[in-house]
Symmetry: C2
Subunit: 333 residues, 2 copies
DNA sequence: CTGAAAGCGCTTACAG
DNA sequence: CTGAAAGCGCTTACAG
């Protein structure tokens, strides 16, 4: 069924070298020959076998993007930025979905090790940190969104601590004093930074943070909902919630509504990320927006630099986050 | 850096054939030899080059899933089902995001043609239909969710016409008489079927469908919102909207709310798909649920059958859709 | 401008 | 139980 280059060569009465050149350096082939070859290609409906090409060239022009959870639209935004730059530079992007299980991330690493991709962009850093650093030494690896504390791995992200501080400052500005932070799992540096930003912001405003004012949840709707429920059940409902992700914020809002509290009338809520749904949900979510597409763009640009063997001017690109005030926050009565 | 099999063989004092066997048929290698080889593998941190293996075996154990739009969480659900079965059968899944542009789908087809994947599962049928059929003759191809009118391409989907009919029947049961259908782009068979289901359902109930009672929109939040706005502006707001997707339904609801109509008090709205957000959105969306994961499971099972050269018992698997009554529908006053 | 030939890194039928 | 050797389908430095 699938014709091989040899058959094309035979039909066109040339060598396989010439067929190959018609594809990759057509200007080096006489026009007449070229046409003969192209006719044969068309007649046999020939498609070169990329596996063979890649093996020969030791290069696949494929970039693997490992997404921790493809269900989260935050990552889709980043992915789009990556795809844009990759396509412009003749790279193809394939996506590996870790299904929220770090084990699967290790599995995708093997795709890289086994040379099925030229480089890997990780949208999560839940793997063993030493392993990530070692990988980055051996292969072109870029970390985006999440990060590790390392000076060697190329990273692109926002300043999560600053973003969290901004959220707190805004809530403080609105007159809120009792603010609860729904944090993400603290084994990611990103959650730690947002939490630290929360604590520093509170300190800055001379507000106290008591036991129970930081609740750890999963990065998910259910995580936010359950965390909020546990807070509500203590009977001490705060003036405002600052959530480490938009999905968690939706959970918090619905938990509040289910318990008879109205957002933002009774309680203000602020999220993090600005996923598309943040402006679809009612009330529209106030949030710290990450420049998702831009993160992807930058990550792929760094990847290209790594692939070209260029020195990176910056090992950690920090992009700008932004407070988007919408409908879930309100001055304290 | 990356060691080759040859080096491992040398270090272990065996042939590359033996090294290869240690990986793929360890039982055929004497334990002592095996241990020697594994020690060498460990010492050199050896990883086999998959490209070479795939070329030699003419098999990649990779399945390419082409998603029309990775931003739509409906497809994430299907993907999870595919991944589950693939992993169990030693296949790896890579995702190609067409970014809502059929052109990109053609590009991913080349991955298949160039032998970088053993098979392809298409989650959209917007490519030229003849092309899809031809592809399916040459390669293992399964179509899921969307479909073409063909008896040759293996397909798994729900009965979209029936699903739409069910939606209409339920609205009729609630006493609604003037029902507007927000349809998806009619160049997909899936949209045509849902529209036909709507029309048949209306006919069944002896309800009239006038000009303007079927509005075509994009399969997106904005598509639904704009379509609803155009309806609202005519001044003839219906008793109920039946939307061809959940995302569109959110757009419709928000457009209604922005125009002073309350859902479901004034207008009922019903969606299609049951994406995760359907039960997060407030009010929770009544919808026709597709068994997303199950569709993925079945699609991958069909793919496995194709890869094994087994005959498919059924070329078009039709799975069960289900009406989920939640909060956006209400009896007509 | 074109071809012969080596080689990318594996796997496997065959022989022993 | 193990090895020598052919071969998967390309690309490319070299020679002409």
């Amino acid at each position: 069924m699938a014709a091989k280059m040899k058959e094309v060569a035979k039909l066109a009465n040339v060598s396989t070298a010439t067929v190959s050149r018609v594809f990759h350096e057509p200007e080096r082939v006489r026009q007449e020959t070229r046409e003969k070859v192209l006719a044969a290609v068309a007649q046999l409906n020939y498609q070169p076998n990329a596996l063979a090409r890649h093996l020969r060239r030791l290069k696949t022009n494929i970039i693997l993007v490992v997404v921790p959870d493809i269900t989260n639209t935050f990552f889709s935004g980043v992915l789009r930025g990556i795809e844009e730059i990759a396509t412009k530079n003749a790279y193809r992007v394939i996506v590996g979905d870790a299904e929220s299980d770090p084990e699967n991330e290790y599995d995708y690493v093997n795709l890289l090790r086994q040379k099925q991709a030229d480089g890997m962009i990780l949208l999560s850093a839940r793997m063993d940190q030493g392993m990530i650093e070692q990988l980055a030494e051996e292969y072109p690896v870029v970390l985006a969104c999440d990060y590790v504390k390392s000076s060697t791995v190329p990273i692109v992200s926002i300043d999560n601590e600053l973003g969290a501080k901004q959220a707190v400052r805004y809530l403080v500005e609105l007159g809120h004093k009792h603010i609860v932070h729904i944090a993400g799992p603290l084994h990611t540096v990103l959650s730690q930074d947002r939490k630290r930003g929360f604590l520093k912001g509170m300190e800055e405003a001379s507000l106290s943070v008591n036991d129970g004012d930081v609740v750890i949840g999963h990065f998910s709707y259910e995580g936010g909902r359950d965390a909020a429920m546990s807070v509500i059940q203590t009977g001490k409902v705060p003036d405002a919630f600052f959530c480490a992700s938009d999905e968690m914020a939706f959970g918090v809002i619905n938990a509040l509504h289910a318990s008879g509290y109205v957002v933002p009338r009774d309680v203000s809520v602020i999220g993090f990320d600005n996923i598309p749904f943040a402006s679809i949900f009612q009330p529209q979510l106030t949030t710290i927006a990450q420049p998702m597409r831009q993160i992807g763009v930058k990550a792929m640009e760094m990847m290209l630099a790594l692939l070209e063997g260029e020195a990176l001017s910056l090992r950690h690109e920090v992009l700008q986050e932004e407070l988007l005030v919408r409908e879930t926050t309100k001055p304290n009565a």
